[in-house]
Symmetry: C2
Subunit: 413 residues, 2 copies
């Protein structure tokens, strides 16, 4: 069976318009990093920018940094930059808190904007924190709502007049399955339901068109494809038409119309600023802004095309070279339904990933049986894919993953 050679892959890298971006990231020697969907790599620009933020802006400016270094406007300024990546307008996004907290804000809004509708629909494979936050809110509101979970695309047929909100992650964290944002949003709106999209695995990985799809609310993550650093703050999108309709319950002073008037009564800011709550972690936000500034230099159509080419290549090479080892493709072959990752199921997946990591190929494992490989086109190339598969072949053919050391779970996997 014929498949591309390493030389073929190297030739594709040489012709790749995105290849120069690789030099803009720090990639440790000896590592092929296929986990940018969990934690993005560090932009080369970040350390110096952070050092300036620490030594100059904090150390020297001290409290004056809130004005002189622009800390006060960061949530909106960075939000406006993210807007350019995901089809939103300026003034529709703020950066703040975590994805989980932001989901709580918009879920509160969506349920309140659809009184009398008691069902919140999602899918059982949605990222668990999204389900947990919904469960927490429902319990807090006295169990007047229910969370119903529908596997895969069966959610489309379930959307009905009792549905208050449809809440989905556009690209499934485990399988890489990509939902059709436009058609599901249209379905929801046809019955009067609202939609919340979690863009954790799509913002920065592919073009997203929130307003083109008439999305109501969205949240997303700063530390994956936005390369914002570990635990980077998250973002929240509220379509302009919904902003004035609701006061979200995490009504901290940074969302007040006049935070420094120190009124005793909360009065929400106009616009998206009311989705802010407390004071934001400036150093982590500074790193996030570096990652986003770099991404804004890239053409997301090119990013998407290369992502699909990389994942096609990975599937082709694994199927050609690892046949007979029991790996079962968990990611859709159809481009329209694929995110920027490729996953395989195998009962010994955890040990196989550990053995790969020991050889410098970093993917990750998602329980119970998923080997997950993310393709971040700004810093992963075609030859990397070839080398990663070559290492996988070695791990499988030697059987070295059977080493007991690779069976031991770590706290974070």
């Amino acid at each position: 069976m014929s498949f591309p050679t390493r030389a073929d892959c190297a030739a594709r890298d040489a012709a790749d318009p995105l290849f120069p971006f690789r030099q803009r990231f720090h990639l440790p020697p000896g590592v092929i990093y296929l986990d940018g969907n969990s934690l993005g790599a560090m932009p080369v620009s970040t350390p110096a920018r952070l050092q300036a933020a620490i030594e100059q802006e904090w150390g020297h400016e001290l409290i004056r940094g809130w004005n002189s270094a622009g800390w006060y406007t960061m949530p909106r300024r960075i939000g406006d930059k993210i807007a350019r990546l995901i089809g939103a307008n300026p003034g529709e996004i703020v950066v703040a808190d975590s994805t989980s907290i932001n989901l709580f804000k918009v879920l509160s809004a969506a349920l309140r904007l659809r009184p009398g509708r008691r069902i919140l629909r999602s899918e059982p494979e949605n990222f668990p924190t999204d389900l947990y936050m919904a469960q927490g809110l429902i319990a807090l509101l006295g169990d007047q709502h229910v969370l119903e979970l529908h596997p895969g695309d069966s959610i489309i047929d379930a959307i009905d007049e009792e549905t208050a909100v449809v809440m989905l992650t556009q690209v499934n964290y485990r399988t890489g399955y990509r939902y059709d944002m436009a058609s599901i949003t249209r379905c929801a709106h046809a019955t009067g339901a609202l939609v919340i999209w979690d863009l954790a695995h799509s913002a920065g990985a592919m073009p997203v068109d929130l307003n083109g799809c008439e999305v109501d609310f969205a949240v997303g993550c700063g530390y994956k494809y936005l390369n914002g650093g570990p635990g980077a703050p998250a973002f929240v999108f509220v379509a302009e038409r919904h902003q004035a309709q609701f006061i979200q319950p995490l009504s901290g002073w940074m969302g007040h119309a006049q935070p420094f008037a120190f009124d005793t009564q909360y009065t929400p800011a106009e616009g998206i600023a009311r989705y802010l709550c407390g004071t934001q972690p400036v150093l982590s936000m500074t790193a996030l802004e570096c990652g986003i500034d770099l991404l804004l230099e890239a053409d997301l159509e090119q990013v998407r095309a290369k992502s699909l080419a990389l994942s096609d290549l990975f599937i082709e090479l694994v199927e050609a070279r690892c046949a007979g080892h029991g790996l079962e493709l968990a990611t859709p072959r159809e481009h329209d339904h694929r995110g920027s990752q490729v996953c395989w199921r195998h009962p010994a997946g955890y040990a196989m990933i550990q053995a790969l990591i020991a050889r410098g190929v970093i993917g990750d494992f998602r329980a119970p049986d998923i080997l997950r490989f993310g393709f971040t086109p700004l810093y992963v190339g075609f030859a990397d894919v070839w080398d990663a598969v070559d290492t996988l072949v070695t791990v499988l053919e030697t059987g070295e993953w059977r080493d007991p050391a690779y069976q031991q779970w770590a706290a974070v996997t």
Copy 2:
């Protein structure tokens, strides 16, 4: 009238056991920093520690940093360090999110633990975000509770059988008035109410004895006296006896019993970890840990004694040298009721503070009329106080604060 000379002050610095700590902070030349109660100064150790976190732990370890660099255990590890500063036990504090978000968590718990009691009591001068968060939660719960505000110590007489929770900031952000934590907590418990203390202006500034006072819940800030950097993450304390009784509603995956089992159903972690929600900003937390590590080297009894000596000196010098300029002391003279700041009222306070800042004496203004000066004993000395007052004398006697440039409000004041 006789008052201490600058030489007297310098002699007190020379005899001060905390004086060597000053070298451990970066203080910009030409600045006397009396705003550590708003944003603490930068420890000298922080830039190198952050650089290692960025370049080595993120840049090189990448996703492996969650285990190898201890990111996963940071919220609990740093929480245990804060516990040593405020009289809590290991396992009673986590670092996470913002003060506002953490208040929402414990306020939800307190209201749920006192069903049938509908009143939440606080004071009108409490830091506004605390009041706003309570208003947001009450509205979300369908207005079954009310927030009643009682000025100063009148709250003690208001606590009754209808009171679910008493929520106060131990040291008032504006006046520096310090509540008696032990007696108010005792009063609340006598009627069956619970207490939430906000330690924003006390943690790290003075000894606090949460368990000695039998406090139920507390929250606090990382960027003031803990010197964690702009917008540093906050902390939340839940007395061990209350931890298992309630599942807080911001039930994100990091508070799950097994986050990496990826269950669809939320099951809270045992203990304080259930007060975590989403993924935390690792870079900002790393800076916070530096600040706390430094503070742990100091004796908080010495810190408190010096804080009172500094503020006594400041009051004495201002009263001796600025008489006739209309400054009215807003901070209690009694040590038991004083935090680590001294405030004066003046109708032109905003302009006076701007004129002081222009001369390198950084205090801040709090609407409508408060000039606020914070005394952070690890890096402020007695001669600094003398010099600050000397500058204030100049600003008042020249009348330079009347310059129109000093009347213009900045976004953050």
